[in-house]
Symmetry: C2
Subunit: 181 residues, 2 copies
């Protein structure tokens, strides 16, 4: 699943073949249909679920107690990773959602659940800061969308500038606490 995610974020769904996954994962070929009887579609859907777990843990690892500083730290890590990968790495979920979100219901729903999970984590940070639940949910969706878009631009431009600009813009668009604490 880890190998699949890694290849998906670099080459997309149609650019990633089962043979390549099996070869890079150093797995016996027969094991693929044993573990994933639904073939490539099931494998990719489960890899997206695994990526969501990974992102959830990554967010938790960057939690500093306030949404603003946690997001800033998380963005710093993303910027660092994209730069070190020579802009090969991106978001496997977004890449797959654009490639096959329209044609595979199984994969679309895995991507949707993954996005909800990440946005839900950020929304919980906002709520902890005193933002009302509805504003927290909407703002988290907006911030996560901006992050996705900035990663697309960074990959096209082969520059972290769009992500640095997002980091600079974030403080002015974060939701304000609805209760004074």
């Amino acid at each position: 699943l880890t190998t699949t995610s890694k290849l998906l974020q670099r080459q997309g769904y149609h650019g990633t073949g089962l043979n390549q996954i099996v070869a890079e994962a150093d797995a016996p070929k027969g094991s693929l249909y044993f573990h994933f009887p639904g073939g490539k579609e099931q494998l990719v859907a489960e890899a997206i679920g695994e990526t969501a777990n990974y992102l959830d843990r990554a967010l938790a690892a960057h939690d500093t107690g306030s949404a603003a500083s946690s997001l800033d730290g998380y963005l710093t890590t993303i910027i660092d990773r994209m730069e070190r990968s020579g802009f090969q790495d991106g978001c496997p979920i977004a890449t797959v959602a654009l490639d096959v979100g329209a044609s595979s219901e199984l994969i679309a729903s895995a991507c949707s659940a993954a996005f909800d999970r990440v946005a839900g984590h950020v929304a919980a940070w906002f709520e902890r800061d005193g933002v009302d639940p509805e504003t927290a949910r909407a703002s988290a969706g907006f911030v996560y969308a901006a992050l996705q878009g900035a990663m697309v631009f960074a990959k096209a431009r082969r520059s972290v500038q769009p992500l640095e600009e997002l980091r600079a813009a974030l403080p002015s668009v974060l939701p304000r606490a609805s209760v004074s604490s």
Copy 2:
């Protein structure tokens, strides 16, 4: 080029074959390498340029004199289009940027130029509203990134809700004029 863009936004770079492009465009096969001696890579790069032209005209067609209402109208059109296409349509530039932005310099640079052109159009709207150039540029990048991300979410969720939420959130994140007119 139009057929290529249409197929790219539904299936991505690796999911779109030259044979399918030629068939759907109803073009003689020999014409492809006559017009595009660089093959698929050149064809896709030029289709991205054509898409940028199209988006530029679409933005101009939605210009109502103020950035806020122009963007609102543009978003309404995007929401309508995504819904009518059954969430098949997305942004061909983002899809291609994620698929091959890392491996093809020609295509990455075409995507980057296309993004700059759209963001530049929005930045010009902000400037016309009295926003200083640097803030206008940064805000346009941020708004366009959020739009890209919301389109990815809409495709995965097969729902226009992420785009409707972006439209609702926009007024509170648009830059303010730096001079009182």
